[in-house]
Symmetry: C2
Subunit: 555 residues, 2 copies
């Protein structure tokens, strides 16, 4: 019994074998601690889906054990599912000031602010629970106020790095807390879970401050307006843009809802500083000469509705791109967004703007540790067990190999999957069963009401459209009274395909006649006969397979 109890369970509910929706449950005795609660953006196969959130059935079932959600930082893939998860698992949320500031804005939008308890912490704070305590440790990342989390148990320490990089010259001067990491490492860490995002990249990620140097050079030579697109949450990047603007005597205006939201939080909480009068309303930009203006905007990923995309397409109400504008895209395209970003760059160039992006200048650095930085953290912590997190399988695998190359025993390195129950003792780590996990689709107001069947239909519809076949039949004898009518959408240009449609109608008529002759009266059979005949005919004629939807009306 004693032995049975003395296990820490690590239950990743998201973030493994995927980029996004990071959430890990750590369970010891009668307590569960949740680290992060992120969303994932839909991939191209998830037609019509707005966002993807983790399945937290396990937490709902064990709600009395759940002591809180502990946030490493304020990025969407770590906090974005909170408004949905908190509706099912309303527990206190712990995080640093900026992180909670961003969470607050989010909860306000969902009308949840009054019912959720937010607990603001500082680095080195330790939250004591019954059998565990949770410690926040400062790190560097592409958002301010990010932390690692150490969970202290009688069995040992579990350290989750969160997303991190090593930056000796961070913009806010707050270097990661190497001393504490070293101390923990010296005393012994039982398990480390570490960020695997950039494990395929050799060397080091450059310091955020190097981007500032590039920005200053760009500002020095620009003669018109400067428009900088970056992630709204990258406060340090924005700080550097403001500093460059001030140095070159420019005002700064902001465009894009998320940028305005986060800026308001960051300024209020003192994470962003600007001289009196530097920041002006976007409505005021035309009161100044072009060479006195900087605009900071969203849209660095070419997102269809974002401010920069609207500027590039001449659909922005306040900013019209003109010759002489200098646009700086201070970000990397996230895999999958390359074409969107490229479209925006092309449009901006065509409007006569000068466009500077990663391929042309060092206007971006990553927020994640490359190989040498990972080696540093492994070497400092020297954990007994290691579990790579935050990555697709390829990244987890490479990170596991990196750990082994640094001297860890293979059996002490475990690659997990979402839903795994990973049992940790002082001397072993192993998978033992699994819990419900997976992805829940959010589409409009619907959470979870779109599943694989609906998505399969949407995919089918997107490929070749739909043909609806309607026929009204007499209840008594099954004879056709009206129709068949065929209406198609997304299949062919109807006007240019009248013959095809006429022939299709004949095919349906024949199928109906055959049914009548064979005294087939069951609707399901009639429908499937119509479908089969039409499918064959259309495929032969067009090599396409539209969805066919036969509808029988009976009177």
């Amino acid at each position: 019994m004693r032995r049975e109890r003395d296990k820490i369970k690590i239950i990743p509910l998201g973030g493994l074998n995927e980029i996004g929706k990071n959430i890990t449950a750590i369970e010891y005795k009668n307590e569960i601690v949740i680290i992060d609660c992120g969303l994932k953006f839909p991939d191209e196969e998830m037609y019509g889906i707005d966002i993807v959130i983790p399945d937290v059935t396990y937490l709902v079932k064990n709600i009395e054990k759940v002591k809180g959600i502990f946030l490493t930082h304020g990025h969407e893939d770590h906090i974005g599912a909170l408004p949905y998860v908190l509706k099912q698992v309303n527990v206190p949320v712990y995080g640093t000031k900026l992180t909670l500031g961003i969470v607050e804005t989010k909860l306000k939008e969902h009308g949840l602010l009054s019912i959720v308890k937010l607990v603001c912490v500082k680095p080195r704070d330790i939250i004591k629970l019954d059998s565990m305590s949770v410690e926040f440790i400062r790190t560097s990342h592409s958002i301010a106020d990010s932390t690692a989390i150490a969970i202290h148990t009688p069995m040992g320490v579990v350290l989750h790095t969160g997303d991190f990089k090593i930056d000796y010259t961070p913009i806010d001067g707050c270097v990661a807390d190497f001393a504490r990491f070293a101390e923990l490492g010296k005393r012994g860490v039982l398990l480390m879970l570490a960020d695997s995002t950039n494990v395929e990249r050799p060397g080091y990620t450059m310091s955020e401050s190097t981007v500032g140097e590039t920005l200053q050079k760009i500002f020095a030579k620009a003669t018109g307006r400067i428009i900088v697109a970056t992630f709204a949450s990258n406060i340090h990047r924005i700080q550097q843009v403001i500093e460059a603007a001030e140095k070159f005597d420019r005002k700064v205006a902001v465009s894009g809802r998320s940028m305005e939201n986060i800026l308001a939080v960051a300024i209020e909480y003192g994470y962003l500083t600007a001289n009196e009068g530097t920041i002006i309303s976007i409505d005021a930009i035309n009161r100044y000469p072009a060479d006195k203006i900087t605009i900071i905007t969203t849209g660095s990923q070419g997102e269809p509705m974002s401010a920069l995309t609207r500027m590039a397409a001449s659909e922005h109400k306040k900013v019209n791109i003109v010759e002489g504008d200098m646009v700086v895209i201070s970000a990397s395209p996230i895999p999958g967004n390359e074409k969107l970003v490229s479209r925006v760059i092309n449009q901006l160039f065509k409007k006569g703007a000068d466009v500077i992006y990663e391929a042309l200048a060092d206007v971006h650095v990553s927020g994640h540790a490359c190989q040498e930085e990972l080696k540093l953290i492994h070497t400092l912590i020297k954990p007994k067990f290691f579990m790579p997190v935050h990555g697709e399988y390829r990244h987890l695998k490479q990170h596991a190999e990196l750990a082994v190359r640094l001297g860890m025993q293979k059996k002490n390195v475990l690659i997990g999957d979402n839903g795994d129950v990973i049992e940790l003792t002082r001397s072993s780590i192993r998978k033992n069963g699994n819990v419900v996990s997976g992805q829940v689709f959010v589409d409009g107001l619907g959470v979870g009401d779109v599943g694989n069947i609906v998505l399969r239909d949407r995919k089918h519809l997107s490929q070749d459209g739909i043909l609806t076949v309607v026929v009204t039949i007499e209840k008594e004898n099954g004879s056709v009274i009206a129709g068949p009518d065929i209406i198609s959408r997304g299949f062919v240009y109807v006007r240019e395909s009248e013959d095809l449609m006429d022939e299709a109608r004949e095919i349906v008529k024949n199928a109906l006649k055959e049914c009548e002759e064979n005294h087939i009266t069951e609707w399901a059979t009639i429908k499937s006969n119509i479908k089969d005949a039409l499918r064959l005919f259309l495929y032969e004629k067009t090599k396409r397979r539209p969805m066919i939807l036969p509808i029988i009306m009976e009177i």
Copy 2:
């Protein structure tokens, strides 16, 4: 009159402001020469489209002038539209041996081989027409037998580089014909059109032979099967795999239809050599020990139906990935394919294979010239006028700027667009009007029968699905006899949304009742009333906007 006549017209019908469907018409006096005839792969907004081909209305209208299609090389984006264009513009096709070999396979599949005249040329061959002559000049690219094309006119020479890189150590030993380029440059080139693909990359593209060195290292340490995925057309890459296999005493089998096709052509024509007995059937791989086997396969882009993707998903009939297999992805993901490739890499790793890809080793080089190579060709040719081709606007723009930095006058550099008529005299280049151009969608057997309306519908269907509303009404008095029935696809899980559907039916009933009460009998109005009521209701309930398709049956 004399002056009016003495103009060369350059009419790009594809390949500008896009990657793909390269085709350029060059017109002088009563002759038109076409350079290349490529397809483009659909982007993610082109739902259900198989391929995109150029609109060649201009060539059809001027068919008596068209003297031939001259191919620079055998890549799909330069030859892929031939089967469609030749049906409308049946003119002789000129190209080098390997290029025509690939074209032949293609025409055979389309049943066109017997009706098209193919003319095989060698580098330095000159095809004399009435007022122009067309010269083929050897270049290096990621397919063997690639050429630039020089068109000699009494007004001067128009040089089209085709796709090229500078490779001093090409696999076949056939270095680009620098002597001829230099000679042309010395005598004076009026206009150069040059490949802009890699203009954003500084430095040089590495030689193809460097990949061979990496492959040899990989082969030296592999202990199981080696599976190499690359582009089927990259004969030189395949040659290097074969050489590595032979060096390490391995057999070579091939998987993937396009790989088998091109290999057959390449071996038949002597572009690919292998020792007797090296190449074995894919059916024979299990007769040899794992460390004696190499498999060359398609699927380096993670294409859903390709051989490697099927292997990774355990759907390949002949090759089952096992622990110890070494998979080499000898290609770069084309922008837009990153996620597909990543999925394949993850699956292969999960199956226990070792996977080597570009992020981990130098297993690929580009086929296009980087900045320093472009500078070399500009410096050798020193054209009077320059027009960047083969790129999105960002590439064309950067290439134009590169030319200016090398000393060209701005007014002598022209960025064109598809459909532009660019008039060239001895002393000027300018746009003067334009012709019909654009993209024609191929979907199954349909060429051009899917246009923007159909695509818009497919997009709409893909986002939120469709609701079909059917009602049967009495012809005389418009009263409802049957229905309304509502059938949805791709909208919500019907079983879990019965209430919603019941309410929706009520909404439709009310709309119908209102129509009756107001004596509205026009179908169009009834339908639009149903649509409006339902759209409002559904958006309020779900924040989704499915397509709504009202159908009225009258008896």
